[in-house]
Symmetry: C2
Subunit: 405 residues, 2 copies
């Protein structure tokens, strides 16, 4: 059994790093706050006797020897957050992994296979796109060179920032494929809470499509320019955001669509915007429907170019197909939960996770615990301690069963 | 006759102050660049022998004695610009006024009434709302105290910035109502160019309504939050921008509508925005139709609050009713233009101007010259030298006729 006080103590301590005045945290990937969080967690890894390595994209892995030398059973997640994040998203999975190690240490137990705990760089994608960058490079889905050269929302590149905070490691990225990969995570949605269920056995992750549109119009005077002569980049950006909503409504089902960023230049009350930047996040568990959503958006963009006399450049920031997890492990998550006396249900993940990068290469599973009010990427994000204990105990059993004792 | 080389030399010299790398200028009101522009122009006023005063809102007036002591004939405009402004908007009117003084000096002519040249603080409203702030205070339409306390887009207040750049003057604002007020300005729209006419005799200024909406939603995860559970401030802002366009189309005629600024917080690709700020600029020559546009927008805002479960705070940034200029002077502008061999037409102004603040208190007129391509509030803003000469010569004759020789 895991020690809930120890785990909660670490969640709270990490939540102090980059904490926001009104609650919550801002630890955007590779920021000073992220560095401080990394230092804290890798210190804990060393305290727990783990051998800590840092790879070329800044992923940090702490490993514990087993009876044999082969690939390890890896527990991972991330400690970067969005700009208005909570204490649990990502952090829970890493610190619960550390708690599993502590339990093994307390019991003086050497598992058959080695066990590792990892935190991956820039899972959120809030500062640098795409998301799941560290795990994507680790598992060969993303190119190290391309990622290092990627500029973030503030202009700095991943490579520069890794150097700056001292996390451009020597270990080659993706040198080891684990024996199995597990990740405990808060659901970040309302499903478990609405169903009154303690544990989600995650069947897979929905497809994610992020596109940034840059609209080039003509700046002009808001008072003197007749409507028929406008090439208003701001209006076009607004139409794209409204279209995203329409697509989600028309496709229905699981389809979600979000325009999270809109920026106008010069952004003044009486100046028609000359340019605009807008991001669109489209997701669906069904790749065919996701493609349909992408096609509808692309068609609307062409229409707007014609009707408004603007040019619109589209850049893909992230495109991940839906991923399915290991069927045997998914069932094992649900059975383990029930054996421990918790209710469980199978469910897909709406959010992207590091686990999806491992799924094509090794047996992979995720454990979800409820998010109060379905709220995440919000400083109010909350999961109760007893729910966290349930999830961490399921994780412990999964590790024990895959690592062998 | 005015000296075109002298006038163009000054337009170019002032265009160097706050010049942008790719052409055009950024001299937002009360910025360092505005201070440098003010220093340059008030230096020229002193060189021309004018007595220069600065009032409590930073308006600068240079005056030239007449045979009598009564109220002066005032020529004015502004030298602040939007962030992506051209060389002519405002600047032309001030420097043509200075050119009129130079001509009087060259001729050694003492007019019957005194003649003055002024530039008014923050006509653009691009940094601080409302626009026409200096002339509004000068003519008693706006409160000095309220304006001094107004914070701009960067948080600094008008009062602080006036102190900082040394233009919080001693002269009480609005101590003198002029005998007459004249303003030469670029049209900033396409009408004169499309009609092939040299001089616009401006009949008045359309009504201006600026509103800032602040939308409070709930930030949440873009992937896990079902569409039905969203309170997306970014989507609501986009709907407001699209509604502005619809209102302009439905009301038709002169109605224009612009959403020039949209800002989302936190503004990240995978976070539903928790809050948004959007500005809407509505204008019409007919106040009843302008009220209709305002009412339609207000109704839509209430609808969006209900359907999206957000709260929307509306703040008026500027509200000026349509203004008509002095009928005798409007006719005189057209007649003078024709006497000088130029084509002329009567037309309303789509942009707000300092002249509209004087119109209720003294006989007022404006002279428009064409804007190439109808482009303004854009670094490409252009009016040809011969068109400028035509406008400045009409202004000279208007001053001579009103000041008496
Ligand atoms: N778990 C999580 O919030 N991941 C960030 C990537 C995403 O937007 O889904
Ligand atoms: N002339 C001019 O551009 N004035 C600024 C105020 C406005 O009309 O938006």
């Amino acid at each position: 059994r895991i020690d809930l006080d120890r785990l909660m103590g670490r969640i709270r301590a990490l939540g102090e790093v980059g904490s926001l005045p009104g609650g919550g945290v801002c630890r955007l990937a590779l920021s000073d706050a992220d560095k401080a969080g990394r230092d804290l967690v890798s210190g804990w890894m060393r305290d727990a006797g783990l051998a800590v390595t840092v790879d070329a994209i800044g992923n940090v892995v702490g490993s514990r020897k087993g009876e044999t030398d082969g690939p390890m059973v890896l527990v991972g997640s991330h400690i970067d957050t969005v700009a208005t994040g909570g204490l649990y998203d990502g952090n829970l999975g890493v610190l619960a992994g550390l708690e599993v190690i502590d339990v093994l240490n307390d019991l003086g137990l050497t598992t058959h296979h080695p066990v590792g705990v990892a935190f991956f760089t820039n899972e959120e994608g809030a500062r640098f796109a795409p998301d799941m960058m560290g795990s994507g490079v680790h598992q060969g889905a993303l190119s190290l060179e391309t990622c290092l050269a990627t500029a973030g929302i503030d202009g700095a590149t991943v490579g520069e920032e890794l150097q700056r905070i001292g996390y451009a490691g020597e270990t080659p990225a993706g040198s080891v494929t684990p024996r199995a990969y597990f990740e405990l995570h808060v659901e970040q949605g309302p499903v478990l809470e609405e169903a009154g269920i303690a544990i989600g056995a995650v069947t897979g992750v929905q497809g994610i499509s992020w596109t940034e549109y840059t609209v080039a119009g003509v700046s002009n005077h808001a008072g003197t320019t007749p409507m028929r002569l406008r090439h208003d980049a701001g209006y076009v950006a607004a139409e794209i955001a409204v279209e995203a909503r329409r697509i989600a409504r028309d496709i229905g089902g699981d389809q979600v669509a979000t325009a999270g960023a809109i920026e106008l230049d010069p952004g003044l009350v009486n100046v028609i915007a000359r340019s605009a930047r807008i991001t669109v996040d489209l997701r669906n568990t069904d790749d065919l429907l996701l493609r349909e959503a992408e096609a509808q958006m692309a068609a609307r963009v062409v229409e707007l170019e014609k009707s408004e006399g603007v040019t619109i450049a589209a850049r893909s920031l992230a495109r991940f197909a839906p991923v399915g997890f290991d069927e045997a492990f998914v069932s094992l998550v649900a059975e383990t939960a029930q054996k421990l006396g918790h209710t469980a249900m199978r469910m897909p993940s709406g959010a992207g996770h590091d686990a999806q990068m491992f799924a094509p290469n090794c047996p992979t599973a995720m454990v979800f615990v409820p998010s109060a009010g379905g709220i995440s990427h919000n400083v109010e994000e909350y999961t109760a301690p007893d729910e966290i204990a349930a999830g961490a105990n399921v994780l412990l059993q999964m590790v024990l069963s895959a690592a062998g004792r």
